[in-house]
Amino acid sequence: MENEGQEKDSEIVTEVNLKEDFQASGVADILSELDNSLIGLTPVKTRIKETASLLLVDKAREKLGLVNESPTLHMSFSGNPGTGKTTVALKMANLLFRLGYVRKGHLVTVTRDDLVGQYIGHTAPKTKEVLKKAMGGVLFIDEAYYLYRPENERDYGQEAIEILLQVMENNRDDLVVILAGYKDKMDKFFESNPGFRSRIAHHIDFPDYSNNELLEIAEVMVASMNYQFNEESKKAMAEYIKIRKKQPHFANARSIRNAIDRARLRQANRVFNNSKGPIGASFLSQIEDIDIRQSRVFSGGIDK
């Protein structure tokens, strides 16, 4: 062990090959997977590519002895529900792992309830348990602003915040924290918690999807479950999106996923009720427009 250390010290690196590092680390694969598996999100993808280049260059500079401080990697993802924050966080964890900034690359997703306790003395151990589980990977705190409840001065959330801030500062090599939530609430949260603001280096905004993007997402989702639309059902889906988007509790891609889950249910019912003899794969995977048009949304109702 000791010898290895000495060898490393005596081996002076004078050159790095960024392109080689890029390929060898598998970062290239993740970025192209990000491009292909996620529809739209252009600004997010651009930001992630920029961040990846920065981190790759930073690692190279570290090898040449040009930096010795590890960079702050904590991030905030802001955007409406269903815009892909959790999905991207998962990819980000993998990316940081490939770049060598976290040792394991797993993602631990929590909300206020996982961090904050019910009584005095309950919060600190709870928060620490979560932090320890996330070490070596990424801690994703969804709707992070609920940790801060200024209207109740005895709220235990403050205790969790203090421990989080401490670990985010002192254990920068051990874990990366991503805070996520609605943009306006996140902005307000950062305004009243300068400790978080100063510890977060990367803010990424997730825009809402356009109707076309939502339709494309629907197609990707359907295909990934081995179903397919035809002309009519695709048209029905497009109309569904148009109406559903104007209704309350619309949650971007998540609403699409839910709509598809319900369409599959109706499809299954239809297939079962109409089948008399043997049926093939194509029949079992076809989503007809009736499967979508039977949704309450088309008759003035509301889908969750």
Binding site: M135, G136, G137, D173, L175
Partner: protein, 139 residues
């Protein structure tokens, strides 16, 4: 007198980085890692105080090093050891145990000889530090 117990006992004390690597080895083997402390270094004192619970579901050793440093904040003048338990035989058995923290001064052990029947001699050892009550043995 430097107390030696457990694995690696004749090596110099580990750095946190080296502790991290040993603990990671334990975790990667599926062993549960625990932190214990005591101010009674008698070799027959096998039951040390537990610092929290054994850790089962932390994939990275940083979690253990973090807790070790929390423990040091309070029991920095005590002996602290790391223990790895393997449950694969069907019960928890200790695979590895090593000291990761020790008092800055270790006064050692008093050896006493008692002459018993037939001019036989019985030996026993007592840590000098245990003259003081628990909690006030090391600074």
């Amino acid at each position: 007198m430097r107390v030696t117990q457990g694995t690696f006992s004749f090596l110099p004390d580990f750095t946190d980085q080296q502790i991290h690597e040993q603990v990671q080895y334990c975790i990667d083997n599926g062993w549960a890692v625990s932190i214990e402390y005591t101010d009674d270094p008698h070799p027959r004192n096998t039951y040390w105080e537990m610092w929290g619970h054994p850790m089962f579901d932390n994939p990275d050793a940083a979690a253990v090093v973090y807790e070790l440093n929390e423990c040091r904040k309070i029991y920095g003048s005590y002996y602290i050891r790391i223990i790895a338990f393997d449950s694969s035989p069907g019960w928890e058995s200790i695979r590895l145990s090593f000291i990761v923290n020790r008092p800055s001064e270790e006064p050692g052990f008093k050896l006493s000889r008692t002459e018993v029947k037939g001019r036989n001699i019985q030996y026993s050892i007592t840590p000098y530090s245990s003259d003081n009550p628990q909690g006030s043995r090391y600074k």
